[in-house]
């Protein structure tokens, strides 16, 4: 059952990766990064149960805390009014 969870998480990660590469605006990419962060938390937790070593959960916990910082930092340092410029590149 954990395998099914891991497989589904991998598929969701792939879809979010496509969105991160294609994403027309910066905000789409931030959304995709945040989504992949959550999926990674779940994947690592699932891997901990698959391999029978639940001390992996420390890493999940760390990600749940740290992933937030990257998202907020991007929001902080994106300069305003540049969305149009990003859609072109």
């Amino acid at each position: 059952m954990f395998f099914a969870a891991a497989a589904a998480i991998i598929v969701a990660m792939l879809l979010a990766l496509v969105r991160a590469y294609a994403g027309p605006t910066v905000y789409d990419r931030i959304l995709a990064v945040n989504h992949i962060g959550t999926q990674t938390v779940l994947l690592i937790a699932a891997m901990g149960f698959i391999t029978g070593r639940p001390d992996f959960l420390d890493i999940s916990l760390l990600y749940a805390l740290i992933n937030f910082i990257a998202t907020i930092a991007v929001l902080r340092y994106v300069k305003r009014g540049r969305v149009k410029a990003d859609t072109e590149s």
């Binding site: 001390d55 420390d58 890493i59 916990l61 760390l62 805390l65 740290i66 937030f68 910082i69 907020i72 930092a73 929001l75 902080r76």
Partner: protein, 137 residues
């Protein structure tokens, strides 16, 4: 970020937990994954989150550059000082077994102290790098 009220409330709530987790990683490094380096980075990340969400200047006043530089030096010196202390106790440089009668016990003490030194140094250096980048804006 003055117009992000929800963000500021949640950040205020999260920062203590990030710091606490950093200390957990620091002290739990000998039983689980983690150690001084990771703990230092996590503690620095808590300060960086504060600086991002609230104000770089307030964060800088909370952790002034002079204090950070002294802390970085203190961390490295703590590590090297353990080695010198081993010499004084009659061992070789960084041979922690000399700390106690039982070498395993002495090793454990030595590892704990140097991990704390690594944690202090890494946290201070990460904050130094962040603040000196943020200063130039």
């Amino acid at each position: 970020m003055s117009d992000f009220l929800v963000l500021r409330v949640i950040a205020k709530l999260l920062i203590p937990f990030i710091l606490l987790f950093g200390f957990y990683v620091q002290m739990h490094g000998d039983y689980g994954p983690g150690g001084g380096f990771q703990a230092g980075v996590i503690i620095a990340a808590a300060f960086i989150l504060y600086a991002i969400v609230f104000d770089v200047n307030t964060a800088r006043r909370m952790a002034p550059m002079a204090v950070l530089v002294s802390l970085a030096c203190l961390g490295v010196l703590l590590y090297a000082g353990v080695g010198v202390a081993n010499l004084l106790y009659g061992g070789r440089f960084l041979e922690y077994g000399a700390f106690a009668h039982d070498p395993a016990h002495g090793n454990h003490i030595g590892i704990l102290i140097i991990e704390i030194g690594v944690g202090i140094a890494v946290a201070a250096v990460m904050m130094i790098i962040f603040f000196s980048f943020a200063r130039r804006r």
